[in-house]
Structures are given as C-alpha cells and as structure tokens.
C-alpha cells in the first residue's frame, strides 16, 4: 500500500513543510462544495432541459432585450469609467494637493457601500424631484426609471475597478521614459499619447474588463433606479429573479447560463490580458 502511495505522490518527498495534503485537500474540498458543484447545477441545466427548450427560453423578445440592456449598458459604463478612471488615477498619482488621501479613500466607496443603499440613494437623487433629477428635469432629461438610470448605477458601481487597476501601474512608471521622450523632442501631448498611454494599455483594458463584468452582473444598485419596465429598462439579473418568483426555473436558468458563460469569457479575457501585461514588462 505504502509503495503505491509513494508512486502516486512522487512530489511529496520534496516538501520540507508539513501540511501540504491537509491545506490543499481542504482548499479543493471547500472550493468544490461552495463554488464548483453549485455552478455545475446551473451549467448542466441546458442538458437536463434539452437544448431546444433552452434556445426557446432565451430567444423571447423580453429576454433578449434584457440581455442587450445589461451587456450594452455595461460596456458603455466600462468605457466611461475607463476614461474617468485614467484622469482620476493621473491626478492621484501625479499631483500633490491637500485632501488627496481622503479623495483616494473615497474611490472605494462603491466597493464598501452595500448595493441596496447605493440603489435607493441614486434612485432618490435622480428621481424627477431629487437633488440632481430636478436640475436635469429643467432640461427635459429624465434619468431615473429609464435606461439612463441603469447607466448611472453601473458607472457608480464599476468606477473603483478602473481606477484601482490603472493607479498602481501608473505609479510604477518611471519619469525617465517621459524625460527621454522630451529630450528626443517629443511634445508633452506626443509623450502622453505615444509613450504613457501605450504603457498603461494592458492595465486600462484589465480595468475595463473588470468594470464590464461587475456592471453586467450588478443587481442591487440598479433595480431601484431603473424602473424595471419590461423590454425597456429591465436588466437580465432582475429577469432571473422575476422568473424564479414565478417558479419558471427553466427560464431563469437559461438566462443564468448566458450570464455565467459571459463571466467565463471575461475571466479568460482577463487571464489573457494579465499574461500579455506580464510579457510586456
């Protein structure tokens, strides 16, 4: 028996520290029990239902509209946050001013603030009689209870991802490269556009991908401000909840599988981005 055991674990003798099997065993067991097996329950659902029924459940106009809204708006929010994230990171890394530490800490507010709190606050703020909503109403702009409300909530929730991925990379960029560019006769704008931005490229894309993934799956901060009009401002996660409340497990699972597939694609993309960034270093 022990001879077989040794054959199966040839690496074991090389570990100086004890606890390899205990720690890795517990890690795999817990990971499987909490994450992998439950996810499998969703992933094999299309097989259980038959692919025909699965396709039917996805291709109703209401479901398609909700998927388009969730992913389309998440992309827009990720692009907006990437732009502002670059500016905010630049200001936090390069400039010195009083209150900078406080400003830096506030960036993480959407991480720390429970989404339901953000949801009711944004909804009240952008409602036609709210602080911001009443100002916008004068120009005939309605945000709350329209797809624009979804965008505002997504921009709120995803901002820290774009700032926090770009900021450390920007801080590590040496000034030497920019000085070299300037010495070689580049204008400031050329230096920024041709030297700084390309070096930040992988970080910006990583932040954008993380922001997109978070915004597409977001629920709590959106449902209060969106108004949830079917096929207009109803996001995909909300439609999952609605279908579950109607005991339409097949319909809910079908949307869930699409969202999960999108998560996997984003995870793969992020891993690809990371190895790309590592190669460039």
């Amino acid at each position: 028996m022990s001879a077989i055991g040794l054959k199966l674990f040839p690496l074991r003798s090389r570990h100086v520290l004890p606890g390899f099997r205990l720690s890795l065993g517990f890690t795999l067991f817990y990971l499987a029990g909490i994450v992998l097996v439950p996810l499998l329950a969703l992933l094999i659902r299309p097989v259980e239902l038959g692919f025909g029924g699965f396709a039917d459940a996805i291709s109703t106009p209401r479901v398609l509209a909700s998927l388009r809204l969730s992913f389309g708006t998440a992309l827009a929010a990720a692009v907006i946050d990437s732009g502002f994230g670059l500016i905010i990171a630049w200001v936090l890394v390069r400039y010195r001013f009083p209150g900078k530490g406080l400003l830096d800490a506030v960036i993480d507010l959407p991480f720390a603030l429970p989404t339901a709190v953000a949801g009711i606050a944004l909804s009240t703020l952008y409602a036609p009689n709210g602080w911001v909503g009443s100002l916008l109403a004068e120009y005939g702009i309605r945000v709350a209870y329209t797809p624009w409300g979804v965008l505002v909530a997504m921009v709120f929730i995803a901002l820290p991802f774009t700032v926090r991925t770009v900021q450390p990379v920007m801080a590590e960029l040496g000034l030497e490269v920019e000085e070299a560019a300037a010495t070689l006769g580049a204008t400031r704008i050329q230096t920024i556009a041709r030297v700084v931005i390309p070096m930040l490229g992988p970080a910006v894309l990583t932040g954008m991908a993380m922001a997109f993934a978070r915004a597409a799956g977001e629920y709590g901060s959106i449902i209060f401000i969106a108004g949830n009009i079917p096929a207009v401002s109803e996001i995909a996660p909300l439609l999952i909840v609605t279908k579950l409340e109607q005991y339409d497990y097949a319909g809910a699972s079908a949307i869930g599988v699409v969202m999960l597939a999108a998560s996997f694609v984003m995870l793969l993309a992020l891993n690809g981005l990371q190895s790309w960034a590592a190669k460039r270093r």
Binding site: F20, V91, L103, P114, S263, L267
Partner: protein, 294 residues
C-alpha cells in the same frame, strides 16, 4: 531687439516647467474633473443617505432603528457574517498556505477558480443554490422529506454569503505569502518546529495585517450583500430579511425614513470599513500585498 528679448523671456518661462510636469491649466482642469466627478457620483448619494435618515431628527432615527423588524434584520445580518467570515478566513489561510508554500501542477488554474465568485453575478450566485436546494432542484425533495430547510431560511442565506465573499481573504493572502516565500518557515521546520508552531509563530506574524485587511473587506461584503441573499431569503419580514433586504422592503412600502435609517447604518459600516482600510494601507503598507502599497 524686441523679437530677441521676447524669445528669451519665452524660453526662460518654459524652462521652469519640467518636461514631466503638466502646465497649471491642465492640472486645474483635471483636478476639477476628478473632484467634480467624485463629488457628484460618489459623495452626493452618501450625503443624501444621511440627510434622509436624519430628516425626522435623531428621535425619528432612533425609533426606526429600534423597531423590532429592523433589529431582527440587524441580528440576522450579524449572524450570517459571523458564520461566513470565519469560514472564508480559514479557507483563505489554507488556500494561501497550499499555493505559497508548495509546488504543484495547476496552481494558476486553482487561483483562477478561487477568484471565480467575483465574476459571477450575485443573482446567479443565488440561482445556483436554488437549483441545488430548491423543490425543483437536486436535493430539494429529499430535504423536504426530512423537514430540513435550507432555502428561505438561515442556512441558505449563510451559504450564498459564503459564496459571494469566498475569495476576499484568499486573494489578499495568496500574493502576500507568495511574495514572502518559504525560507522562514523552512528554517523553523529545520529547527524542529511543528507545522502548527511554524504557522503560529512565523507565518501569522508576517501576514497578520494582510489577513485583517482581507477579513475587513470580507465582513463588509457579507453584511451588505443584497442580490444573492435576495434570491434565497424568501423575504419574510422580521425572519429572513437581512439589513439590505429590510432596506428594500421599507423603500418599496414608501417608508423612506425607515429605509434610509437602516441604509445609514449600513453606510456608517461602509465608512468605518473604508477608514480602517485606508489606515491599514497607510500604516502597514509594507506588510500588505503589493497591490495595496500606494
């Protein structure tokens, strides 16, 4: 002559600006954009929460907080967090120990899998547990036969909370412990320390601030989780409503003062979390994972 002196004063003025420094107008512009964006997008909602919560004065605030259903929601949230956070802390330490201290195949894949719950929508997190434990799910009928309640009860709420906060401690400790290497632990082992002694006396002192950082974020998310808990809770007022769910219930019933009062409690928790997090980043920068050294 005029041209010459103009050129000279021009070049002198330019020489004051380092090539890596932005001109003043650009600094002011970008600074204004940053402060304006943060103020409108982040600070305004926060201010509104406290303003609405205190709209009825401190007396109204106190009355809304001490309302039995509100207190029940606070209790439930605290219980869920008190179970989920220690579980994920033990897991985080075990996972980081395995990944940082040994060589084995598939390590990168394992780290990706540990991060997986972060990229899954909270609603999907709730959904997968409904598919496992629901009446139309794998275990639902069996559990019902034995009168065991997972969904629409505390176990379900705890399970989804564990799922959504799964990676927090692990992803904090893994880069930190990989960075620190295994020399110190191997030295301790060579000198005759047991595994447990090594962990307690050598590893733990090295990772304690990183561990605390992870626990802090894990706890904040556990108390504040909404989407996933919403799917499995059943929304029974005073029984299976956590604080965020109670906020929704009050808000949907047009009890704005009550909703914003509970929301203000959660917002204060968020502010305390941010303050402690910034303190850790500032005070113990060298002892946190590289990503947090600002």
């Amino acid at each position: 002559m005029t041209n010459f002196s103009n050129g000279r004063s021009g070049s002198r003025r330019r020489s004051f600006l380092k090539p890596t420094e932005d001109p003043l107008w650009l600094k002011l512009l970008l600074g204004a954009v940053t402060i304006g964006f943060i103020a409108i997008l982040l600070l305004l909602p926060l201010a509104l929460v406290f303003k609405e919560a205190l709209a009825g004065g401190l007396g109204g605030f106190w009355k809304s907080i001490t309302e039995p259903d509100a207190l029940a929601s606070v209790r439930l949230s605290l219980i869920a967090a008190a179970i989920a956070v220690p579980l994920n802390t033990v897991f985080g330490i075990a996972a980081a120990w395995a990944i940082a201290k040994y060589d084995f195949r598939g390590k990168t894949f394992l780290v990706t899998l540990i991060d997986l719950p972060f990229s899954v929508s909270p609603v999907v997190a709730g959904l997968i547990y409904v598919l496992v434990f629901g009446m139309q799910g794998w275990l639902g009928p069996t559990l019902a036969d034995h009168d065991i309640h997972i969904l629409f009860a505390l176990p379900g709420i705890v399970l989804v909370t564990v799922f959504v906060t799964f990676p927090f401690v692990a992803r904090e400790l893994i880069p930190l412990m990989v960075d620190q290497g295994r020399d110190e632990e191997e030295a301790a082992a060579t000198l005759g320390a047991t595994g447990f002694q090594t962990f307690l006396r050598v590893t733990l002192p090295n990772i304690k601030w990183g561990l605390l950082y992870g626990i802090l974020l894990c706890n904040a998310r556990a108390l504040g989780e909404f989407g996933a808990v919403s799917v499995v809770s059943g929304h029974i007022r005073g029984v299976t409503n956590t604080m965020p769910l109670h906020v929704q219930l009050l808000y949907d019933n047009y009890d704005y003062a009550g909703a914003f009062t509970v929301a203000a409690l959660l917002a204060m928790l968020a502010l305390v979390t941010l303050a402690l997090k910034s303190l850790l980043e500032w005070r113990y920068a060298d002892e946190l994972a590289a990503a947090h050294r600002h």
